[in-house]
Subunit: 250 residues, 2 copies
DNA sequence: CCTACCGATCGGTAGG
DNA sequence: CCTACCGATCGGTAGG
């Protein structure tokens, strides 16, 4: 545990923004306002369908004024997505500090990844809805996205081999857990739903239940379930007996 | 039981399209081509960022020609989303025919909901990326979306009360399972990943593990455990496929 | 920070 | 007369 120095809110207060260092606190404040309003509009209307005029009107200012703080619409989106990438990186750092078995480390990952999404669901929606529209961003975000996937699938594979977890396709289950987490952005409302703490607890519990080794008295469900189970077992045997990496499908 | 008339592929062949009935088979074919190309472009570039010219160019035709088949860009998106809504409704019908305990019914729901997404991930992305941009569609899709949520959370609550499932927040877990399923559209590639059948099997297995009431003792692990598990699965398949006589092909 | 204004391009439709 | 299109251009509006 690294303590609360990695908490997003504390971080924003402690480390001065780039804009604050170069142009003063006033500019940083206005930029934050613009980013917040733009995030809300991009998330609800879409990036391409949101005009700079709409952002200006929502802020009670003129459209050209926005160009004093940002070079254009693209830079606003870029800054927003960079903030989301920073959230993911902080979550990885925080989860990497968790010691213990595969269960504890997976729970730490789920909580750390889900917390920033639960804190600002509207912003989190931007990842899927606007990486499409500004293709340059996808390259910037690909690195941290791959790291997240590797972290989750890695701890699942470890738990699989140690026997803590049931035999499963680490990649598919990792995507399933990430889907469970990321989907938060499209349904969770802090105002009407459970508290963020209760939510992250429930999610990590679900993720652990998903992979935890269980007793064998429940047979596989249906023919497809039995075939899927045998396929998992074959994959597991292949990895264990034949070694690692030689026959993996990317 | 409605029988196999609810299978998507069979349905398209058996029941003539609206366009086919009114304007002939030639028109229905062209409309399907336009819809397919538009879905690909909308999913990769976004709805607002895709021009009618891009759709026409990709099809090797002129832009005005598109207006002979559709009144405009909005109608193309509307038709696409209606097709996705129909998929969800067919999935609900198919899952409603499954008899058994909460486990079997939940597995049926997961398989039925995941199958059309696995079959056409690019199309499925439209739900999230373009309901934003055409607000009228959200109202049309809200009904079936609520039905899906109620079906999943309902069967979870039932399993909870009967003791089949662990105590959990049915709403949160339902959204988690739906997130796991819907996220498929953003990572699953039928060309490089597991087969759709293996995938839906894996997903329903994960969903069941997520909610199943668990016991404390762990099953056998390691190579011998995997072999023992496969022997159990083979026995199950033998009983099901050879004993029953009717091999259900899903 | 506004007013004024640009080159480019949008979705949709005319006549033939 | 029908259908299935084409080349050219409409009025508005986008980001900058």
């Amino acid at each position: 545990m690294r303590g609360d120095s990695t908490a997003p809110n504390a971080d924003e207060q402690r480390v001065p923004d780039r804009a604050e260092r170069t142009r003063g606190p006033r500019r940083a404040l206005v930029e934050a306002e613009i980013l917040d309003e733009a995030a809300r509009l991009f998330a609800t209307r879409g990036f391409a369908a949101t005009s700079m005029q709409e952002i200006a009107t929502a802020l009670g200012t003129s459209r050209p004024a926005l160009y004093h703080y940002f070079t254009g619409k693209d830079e606003i989106l870029t800054r927003l997505v960079q903030g989301l990438a920073d959230d993911s990186r902080r979550a990885l750092d925080q989860a990497a500090a968790v010691r213990g078995g595969a269960e504890e480390r997976l729970a730490g990952l789920v909580c750390a990844l889900a917390a920033p999404i639960a804190a600002a669901p509207l912003r989190a929606r931007l990842i899927r809805s606007s990486l499409i529209e500004l293709l340059d961003l996808d390259g910037q975000f690909a690195a941290v996205r791959d790291e997240v996937l590797l972290a989750v699938s890695g701890v699942i594979d470890e738990g699989c081999e140690s026997g803590e977890f049931r035999r499963c396709d680490g990649r598919v289950v990792a995507f399933s857990i990430l889907g469970m987490i990321n989907w938060l952005a499209w349904w969770y409302d802090p105002a009407t739903g459970p508290s963020p703490e209760a939510l992250t607890g429930e999610l990590s519990e679900s993720a652990l239940a998903m992979v935890r080794a269980q007793t064998a008295d429940h047979g596989p469900v249906g023919v497809s379930g039995a075939i899927a189970a045998m396929r998992r077992d074959l994959d597991f045997l292949e990895r264990t007996v034949c070694g690692d990496g030689s026959v993996t499908k990317s």
